[in-house]
């Protein structure tokens, strides 16, 4: 089975975000980057599916600037067989439809049985790239997946619904699944894996500029505070003393 996993490189989680001078995106200088969280789970799931079958291929796919190559290398070190890097200096200027079009173009040339994406990216947070890719490819899809069971010519997947509900769905292959965090336990790259990664194929594709965009990002800005939050100040101990006062006399729970 051939599996493509779409992984995105995003700013590390605790990054201090500053706007760039045009207020169109964040200033990326001084930031460190990492794999988008659910994408790490999607990659792990692909590796486990291949291992369970004892055969197949896992291809990591990423659209991003040159720096994103490091995230693909990590995927190779963890066990992906090869990687495709669609190089695009400013992916933040692309809307999800444009991103999906570029990803789908690369996926088409590989005709995979299964495409896995994360459920949502940490930065853009559109939560839709995988589903758009499915429609562009004419594949069936399911979102928010917590379990993948392979059958002869089909798959049965467990979807997470809201409020603690779940549901199984069966569908034919090829299919696109968007993976939710937590469905497996992530592995670390081994030293051997890191060494091997250097010899694995990383195909570079230059992103062609697409015709039109469906939406433009006019500006970004910090959200305005609507709530009056009482900020407690001072040392840790002073804050603790004040909070105990509040718990006692305002919230009345002590």
């Amino acid at each position: 089975m051939k599996i493509i996993v779409a992984i995105k490189q995003v700013p590390a989680r605790d990054s201090q975000l500053r706007l760039n001078s045009a207020a169109k995106w964040i200033d990326e200088e001084d930031l460190t980057f990492e794999i988008n969280e659910p994408d790490a789970y999607a990659l792990e799931e692909a590796l486990q599916l291949k291992e369970k079958q004892g055969a197949g291929e896992v291809i990591a796919l990423c659209l991003g600037p040159e720096r994103a190559g490091s995230t693909l290398r990590e995927a190779l070190a963890k066990g992906a067989d090869r990687a495709i890097h669609i190089v695009c200096a400013h992916p933040e200027t692309l809307d999800p439809l444009a991103i999906a079009n570029l990803l789908a173009g690369a996926i088409r040339t590989e005709s995979p049985d299964l495409v896995l994406t994360g459920l949502q990216s940490d930065d853009l947070g559109s939560g839709q790239t995988g589903v758009i890719v499915a429609e562009l490819l004419g594949s069936s899809h399911a979102t928010n997946i917590m379990e993948v069971l392979l059958q002869a010519d089909a798959i049965r997947v467990k979807r997470e619904l809201e409020d603690g509900w779940f549901q199984y769905i069966q569908m034919p292959l090829p299919a696109v699944l968007t993976i939710q965090s937590g469905l497996n336990r992530l592995r670390y790259a081994t030293l051997m894996g890191i060494k091997k990664a250097k010899t694995k194929e990383m195909r570079i594709i230059e992103a062609e500029t697409l015709g039109g965009q469906a939406a433009s990002l006019d500006r970004i800005y910090p959200p305005d505070r609507q709530k009056q939050t009482q900020m407690l100040t001072g040392t840790a101990k002073e804050q603790a003393v004040q909070l105990v006062e509040k718990l006692r006399f305002e919230m009345r729970v002590l």
Binding site: R13, V131, I132, N144, D163, G164, Q167, K227, V253
Partner: protein, 319 residues
Amino acid sequence: MILVVMEQHAGAWHKMSWETLAGGQQLGKAMGEPVAAAVLGEGIGALAAELARKALDKVYAIEHAQLALYNADGYTAALAALIGQLQPTLVLFPHTYQVRDFGPKLATRLDRLLLSDVVRVMPGPVFVRQLFQGKLNADVRPTTAAPHLVSLQAGAYRADTLVAGTAPIETITPALEASRQQPEAPFRESSRAVDLTAADLIVSVGRGIKEADNLPLVEELAKALGAELAASRPICDNGWLPMERQVGSSGQTVAPKVYLAVGISGAIQHLVGMKGAKAIVAINKDPHAPIFEVADYGLVGDLFEIVPALTEEIRKAKA
């Protein structure tokens, strides 16, 4: 026309639908557009009748045996046909897990982009969405012609502003091909051993705790306060605490007297599970963390200093 696509499961409304419908009414007024609502399913006469008692210009009941259980293929085909026929200016959806599943597919089918998880609609129209899990906002403008497809975040509009009225119902039976997805009936995992919904006091821990080995720190605080321990999703994903302690859109929805969030950033999927708390206290080292957007009391600083100090002060106060 503004078309609001409602969501129902087994004859019960998804409550975010009402917020979206209220949003549709308000935008209809502001834009001078008629407002219609659509509901899909099988045997949905009673739901359509309920919708018809709102101030709407039209209610579309899309009936089909293949829509009895939600499936992306069926919903996409049925709605693509309706939207193609009505040519609305704006199509509004609640940003639910179900809309996440078919909304992007439907938009792509219509040669459009779904503007997802929108928190505010401004004249233009310009749509405000959150980036970086709520740390920043973005103004997004569609550059294609109408219809614009937009899914609204929980809380973007208030359901209690809904206006009652009467509306005619049109029942439509779409032509549907067999769906590729074969859904089975939804189920809940074995009953929850921990019921956080009944708790008066909750101490909730997030990724700020860094390692499982540090959890005793918050366990001690919960014990001193007499509170239940809860967590954000990553803590449960890592297996540090059981899933049943997860608060948020895919976990439990709680409404305690006090919710003390320790090292939790305040992503919307977490907030929807706890913003009904009477009082929210947040401990976070980042003064810009979105959790402070909903907190009544904020303590900015290192949880590894504040939490032990707080545990000690609570013990003293209770002694």
